[in-house]
Symmetry: C2
Subunit: 549 residues, 2 copies
């Protein structure tokens, strides 16, 4: 049997547009003589549809498109479809896989495990089912599952999240093949886990596994494709690309014999991070209807890396860098920004903020000059934000936010200033990783894209004379590991100190993180690459006590 | 038996501060000769603690405070405590009620139903238990429950949310009293439902009911106290205040005889909305460490109502109104703003934005004058936002956002402009209800607080000559009902049209709502008063298709 797998990039809520894509790939599957054509979890709504699922009219329309447009195809061609879709039964909603054959819905496979942690909220929308039945496809008994249902093997996970493992019931029925329809977003480290866990399952159950994942970004979540095929020895036969759509074919006979060639383990490194950030940037703009982006170029490393990623994602001709010197800007910053513009081939303008700064100082300081307080530092950042937004609004460019995760964590940024914009490309990239990205970019292109001085000089916001980040923050080499323990591993302050970090530094950093929640509440959508980002998965109070524990 | 009930206002995460409050009220209960003193759901962490629950150190500290500070009190005085608290068992976390007696934890009552809809996310943090056991307190068998567990009676609710009703198991054990520890946030309409449902339960089970609710606001959620006592005939014996802490006593003997005086049904009207908005404002400021607030006064009704609410909540001396006329501001707007300032007795300053506007036009329009595009309208709003933030940052005033829910829904507002600020007081109040609030405020104080002209004139943003809201939006009388059907009732566009609304208007409004998600993503925390607000309960995609259905 030849199975065609469609790793597609849907747009959330664009049912008709996604349907056109599904139909086009179904046609491609037919051309490739497939006996079955498979699509990802919630292929027509796109994943995650979130509150769109509260609209019965939305669910009804999805089902009408399946009934009117997809099911008839299976009667005409004789080739069945397996597709992720919403399913309503007894007035309850399920996340399901529908097996469409010969002009009807032959079987329905409901999801059991509903993720509700991190960025996932499926218990808000869905009910859980434990129906689990094997489907005969051709002469092959197949276990059809949706995403999370394969992720609770108690022999693999020492602390399984759920009380039940739906695979137990399915494998008691002796399937030879497991197909999993997924929409699993990227974070670093996940690739290796996925491949290791799936190889384990294939070996344990002596079964072939086809893992089909959504590709493309929806808001902050970057679905990284990388669909996988394992034979029943747990050998990896195929891995689809991480950053684009693809239809690939699996000959099922190959799943039950030794691999001719085993695909080497995935390399999930700084290059992958660059790749998914570019995918996330490209998709956010295209799915919100933008072609061009504008950003402020300070001459520092954050805006340099953002500009480089945007130039690669959108084409340099679609990126506009605005250089906005103030009285406190250094000459080298301007030189470095201009060199970056030249290296990348992007467009640029220079708009000095001296005049509006002076006007505001006159207006707000009772005719006296600058008093050099924090409010005036914020003022400069906000004047720049205002200029970017003016260009964004007038010229139809999306404004990119250039702040990194370390800054966002401790609130070393200005609301409505450098935080202004529609998309934050590196807001989940900690500062030390921004340096890695810069070095990777220069190495990858084999020439200096990001000027050496930008990488080497001490980070500075340049909002007052001779200002350095280290005046206000611990060195990033110390800061980043503390942030990781506090945010990703949920260590308490005392546990972090017990790891050997300086007490005063730790308590200071955590106070900054906790009190900056009000800024993050108003932050732009930020692309996610880490296991814990400041996005949909964070549910943190703003008004709160700050006692230590 | 005399039971003392403490309706308290905790601060999220302030374990020690909340403990001091609990101990003080325990002391008050002893003074009143209580035989049992009861506290609300998660009394030490405060509700909702959200991601603080991910920190084992936080849970451990809460338990240590209970063990070291509360349990010993019950040994010293002989008076037990019933308190909502986190409980860890077999490495899983539960939302629980602890019954502390004679120096130990005598019994633990775990929550069964974990709300995961709207603003609630309990399945993210908690496990569900079906242990349900009656506790003998004195000679009274008592069913002890936490919040949601009383909300799934299938005889009362035609579509119960959960598959189980924990009360069934409890009432099979013949309790004579039901105590419910709650933290239930206000929205209009909820009071009547609560009182009706509890009366139904009391009658059905022939049991007394004590419903103890948290009071005070935590971020957007306003917990409205209004704790209730019913006798076993379902007669309401007592209702605590909606806006302040209180310790009240229940003589259990009174629960089993006819009421001497039945408390009349709750009046949940525009006056209640005013009261909870003021509570929300007061608490947000005090819990984030602010005393004073600053806001822009446009001369329009939204900022007038916000100023009036803030003056009442914080004291007029703590409210600073900034009047920021532009070349397009009308004279009557300035007059009206000044009259409002006088009527309220708040402070004010006038800062014209003509000069910075001119500076930016010179800078951005290549020396030409204004071109009167949308970007220049946004520019004016952002210059005002910048001035407010400068005052906020420099003088330590919290900036209040003055936008209403109708505007926020359709995106008739400027990001970083009129949307700038820390707290949006009326962002869940639709425009027609803003008028009601204005009229109520004038009626309540028996004099004109909000000038009549402010209430009567046509709404205008005054960002270009002779601009009216109705140039861009349907009249609010048409707009508000469409928004309610779309947002609160999840009607699809075609269902709204079927209700008799004009098709073109409906489709236009819904397009505006859907495309404005990016603005709301960066909106300030906004106090919630409706069954559906644009806050923690909304999980809507930004990048999405906008097909109609």
């Amino acid at each position: 049997m030849r199975i065609a797998l469609a790793q597609l990039n849907p747009t959330i809520g664009a049912l008709e547009q996604n349907l056109r894509k599904v139909k086009a790939y179904y046609q491609k599957g037919l051309e490739k003589k497939a006996d079955l054509i498979v699509f990802t979890e919630l292929a027509l709504p796109g994943y995650p549809p979130r509150d769109l699922l509260n609209y019965k009219g939305f669910i009804d329309k999805e089902r009408a498109l399946i009934t009117d447009e997809l099911i008839p195809l299976t009667a005409q061609s004789g080739v069945p479809i397996l597709i992720g879709a919403n399913h309503r039964r007894d007035n309850r909603l399920y996340n399901a896989a529908l097996f469409l054959e010969s002009g009807k819905i032959k079987s329905i496979h409901l999801k059991t495990l509903l993720p509700y942690f991190d960025v996932f909220d499926e218990t808000r929308y869905y009910n859980s089912s434990t129906d689990g039945q094997i489907e005969m496809i051709g002469d092959l008994p197949v276990a059809i599952t949706v995403c999370e249902d394969i992720w609770n093997d108690i022999a693999y996970f020492s602390e399984p999240l759920y009380d039940t493992n739906p695979l137990e019931k399915l494998f008691a029925q002796d399937p030879r093949l497991l197909i999993n329809l997924s929409a699993s977003p990227y974070h670093y480290g996940k690739h290796a886990l996925r491949e290791d866990m799936l190889a384990f399952l294939a070996q344990k159950h002596n079964t072939g596994i086809i893992y089909l994942n959504q590709v493309g970004a929806n808001d902050e979540l970057i679905f990284d494709g990388s669909s996988l095929v394992f034979n029943n020895r747990g050998e990896l036969l195929y891995r689809a690309p991480a950053d684009k759509e693809e239809l690939f074919i699996v000959e099922t006979a190959n799943l039950f014999k030794p691999a001719v060639q085993i695909v080497p383990p995935d390399v999930d490194d700084i290059g992958t991070i660059k790749q998914v950030l570019e995918l996330g940037t490209k998709d956010y703009l295209s799915k919100t209807g933008f072609k061009k982006a504008v950003l402020g170029l300070s001459g520092g490393i954050d805006s340099a890396v953002v500009a480089a990623l945007a130039a690669e994602a959108l084409g340099p001709e679609n990126v506009l860098g605005i250089i906005m010197p103030s009285p406190y800007s250094s000459r080298h910053s301007r030189e470095d920004a201009l060199e970056l513009v030249k290296n990348l081939g992007i467009k640029s303008r220079t708009i000095r903020i001296d005049e509006p700064f002076k006007t505001f100082i006159n207006l707000l300081n009772n005719g006296k000059g600058p008093v050099m307080d924090l409010a005036e530092e914020n003022l400069q950042a906000r004047l720049r934000g205002l200029i970017l937004m003016q260009i964004s609004n007038r010229e139809g460019h999306l404004a990119l936010v250039t702040g990194n995760k370390s800054e966002l964590a401790v609130g070393y940024s200005t609301l409505y200033g450098d935080m202004a914009g529609g998309l934050a490309i590196i807001s989940d990239v900690r500062k030390m990783m921004v340096y890695e990205l810069a070095q990777h970019i220069n190495a990858l292109y084999g020439k200096t894209i990001i000027p050496e001085r930008v990488i080497e000089k001490a980070p500075s916001a340049e909002l007052r004379p001779d200002q350095k980040d280290e005046d206000s923050l611990p060195p990033y080499k110390q800061l980043d590991p503390i942030l990781e323990l506090y945010l990703e591993k949920n260590y308490s302050p005392s546990e972090i100190i017990a790891e050997g970090h300086d007490e005063k530094t730790v308590r200071g950093v955590i106070k900054m993180v906790d009190t900056a929640e009000y800024k993050r509440r108003q932050a732009a959508v930020g692309l996610r690459i880490s296991p814990y980002s400041f996005g949909a998965g964070r549910r943190a109070p703003v008004a709160r006590g700050f006692e230590h524990y």
